[in-house]
Symmetry: C2
């Protein structure tokens, strides 16, 4: 939420839904820029070796942003003539574990929320935060408000969880790369999860996990439309993220193309192919607190193998250093090489479960464009390739066309097996 | 607290005390301007008829200011190499009643504070706020941080409660009016209470009441001295507000001169002198939510009397209107007149209890200056007069000299009876 003007618009939108007979629970984020402002103050005072105690205070500090915006939204709703009350995470309570700055929600007590709803009030609950068993304030990390909203929706068994964002829905791919990209009317939790994990920044990945687990339909829609847009129209806008078994799901093989260039590839060359190699390499990397994404072990030749994996680009130098200094000498590996100039492109779709040949159609398409595939990784509803970064736009556009994503799916002659 | 630079200075000061072997609990106010900023946002969104629900959200909002400054101070202390933890009112908890925006502290649980102190931590507790029995956030009203500090000090039975303010102590009177005004080294709770109620703005009056009730010595001292001032010197600076039976109390008859020009005088003339008059006049005023200070009923003449009292200047017009329209006609009063050009000057001192003639010495002094006294009101340790506003400075300076307040009290040949 931005200025008070924006808060007033949110209030008018909520009031519109409420007057149409819906019970409303609202989970606002902080006012625009507020969380950054608070964390910048903390940064100025940061100790030389920030520890757990520092993280605790960061959460105590950052949680005030949503507490303030929630109270202001309650006031704006009262100005609209509605009854409204705001609760901080600890007042609900929203119980989390004690992992400061990246806590996970463990439970939500719905009694107080239900009691206030029953009196006709709009209930506002601070996003992004909770309280641990010892009564410490915790935050869920960036984008945590989405997760809070879905968790609250699950706790109160809401009909639908509307998430107002700065985009008007989920697209077949990034419209900045493919102008023909099309807004999906519906998408399954599983697909959304794969897209989110692939860098599609529409929703925080944990909010989608939560929604899938507790079967809460989410509608992603734009907060930039006028508040007085027709209610029926608004209720049909955006993208509905829902159950795979929903009768009206689009019947496409591939629902979207995801991509990111946040990763770098590391290859350990000439490793003796003995049991425990993967553990010795990746164990050391994990101990260095580096997350690994795609992992490939090539076939063995002359008792030696090559081992490749991708990490976040920010971790490339650190990981190379760690492997060269500590791991390669011990393993007797020939060389360790890194490459930051890569990208990962994925096709995602639940249709892949029941359709053979989807992956090879992807590989053929890329080959026709002369794009060399460096790594391949597959899951049930996703196929990812790592390619040279310079081919990213070309690959995404070609795949988008190959799988007819610029056409509404229900015009395709595809049935599910 | 102002900028992060100021927070860092507070941290250095606290660290200095802590390193000298003191267990420290710190109660910070919000960062400078923050409470006003938040309340201005609320004001922009305020409903047409703000009610109880609005006040609840105001407190939910305003409480974030101290929550943020407390977390930042904890971080700054960690940067100083100390262990520090911050708690919001509800985390202690500091229990209050439910009177939003002006709540009163009912109890403080000292267990969590003591447990953290025992581990060697500096404990930071948000001032100005608490939580009611239903778990709603409450605030104590402006200056409430002083009250929080004293209440916490009482709960943990602190040796002394240091209150850092923008003045370096309590003075015999306002140095802007009397340049010879002298800082008091000690003053009793009772005297401080009378001075505070008379407009001496050093401490919030409720913090002094609390300190007196729970016998917590308060030291008022300046937050503008360097943080690295010598500890012994700092421990002796400012003014100690302490018990009347403290052996080392100054033995003056009068400790200070207080004054204010916030009041206005109202006189109802020619009222039939029958029982219940005072109630009929003041009851109506109280129903109008106007607070009354000095009250005088003159002697009766021909079965008629005049009834005078003072109210806050802001309430003058409203009160006059109320009396003229509703009360005077019913009583058959001759006239209702108001006068905003008055001031109240008081001498305060516990020595007045045991010394006769102090009040008449005051009246003589004023008469020698040609100042006419319009109203007189006395209590055990205070005598107040209402005079024409234009004589205020003259009266205060003359009384300051009359009672030798420019001289340290222990050089006076005064003993207590």
């Amino acid at each position: 939420m931005g200025s008070t003007e924006r808060i007033r618009n949110v209030a008018k939108r909520v009031a519109k839904w409420h007057r149409a007979g819906h019970q409303m629970v609202v989970v606002p984020s902080a006012m625009s820029g507020e969380t950054n402002r608070l964390l910048a103050l903390a940064k100025e005072l940061e100790p030389a070796r920030p520890g757990q105690a520092y993280s605790r205070e960061l959460d105590q500090l950052a949680a005030t942003g949503e507490q303030a915006s929630s109270a202001l939204l309650a006031i704006a709703l009262q100005a609209e003539g509605l009854e409204a009350v705001s609760f901080s995470g600890w007042q609900v309570p929203i119980r989390t574990n004690s992992a400061y700055t990246k806590a996970r929600i463990e439970s939500i007590d719905h009694q107080r929320i239900q009691a206030e709803l029953a009196t006709g009030k709009v209930v506002i609950i601070t996003g992004f935060q909770g309280v641990d068993a010892a009564g410490n304030v915790t935050t869920l990390g960036r984008g945590g408000s989405d997760t809070s909203a879905v968790a609250v929706a699950a706790a109160i068994k809401a009909e639908e969880c509307l998430i107002y964002t700065d985009v008007d829905g989920v697209y077949t791919t990034d419209p900045r790369v493919v102008p023909e990209a099309r807004r999906l009317e519906k998408v399954s939790f599983e697909e959304m999860l794969e897209m989110a994990s692939m860098g599609s920044k529409v929703l925080q990945i944990r909010s989608v996990e939560f929604a899938g687990k507790y079967r809460v339909p989410i509608r992603v829609l734009s907060s930039f439309t006028d508040w007085d847009i027709d209610l029926t129209e608004e209720a049909r806008s955006g993208t509905l993220i829902t159950f795979e078994d929903d009768e009206s799901m689009e019947q496409a093989v591939v629902s979207g193309i995801a991509f990111n260039r946040d990763e770098a590839k590391i290859t350990v060359l000439g490793v003796p192919d003995t049991p425990g190699i993967a553990y010795q390499i990746l164990g050391a990397v994990a101990d260095g607190n580096v997350e690994v994404d795609v992992i490939i072990q090539n076939i063995s030749k002359d008792g030696k193998t090559d081992f490749s994996f991708t990490v976040h680009r920010n971790d490339l130098a650190k990981t190379l250093d760690l492997l060269k200094t500590h791991v390669a000498p011990k393993l007797g590996a020939a060389e360790v090489v890194g490459d930051a100039r890569i990208c990962k492109v994925s096709i995602v779709g639940i249709g892949m479960r029941s359709h053979v040949g989807v992956a090879s159609r992807m590989f053929r398409c890329l080959s026709e464009e002369g794009i060399n595939i460096q790594m391949i990784s597959t899951s049930e509803i996703k196929t990812s390739v790592v390619i040279d970064e310079k081919y990213m736009e070309l690959a995404v556009r070609s795949l988008h066309r190959e799988f007819d994503l610029d056409q509404p799916a229900d015009t395709l002659a595809v049935t599910r097996g």
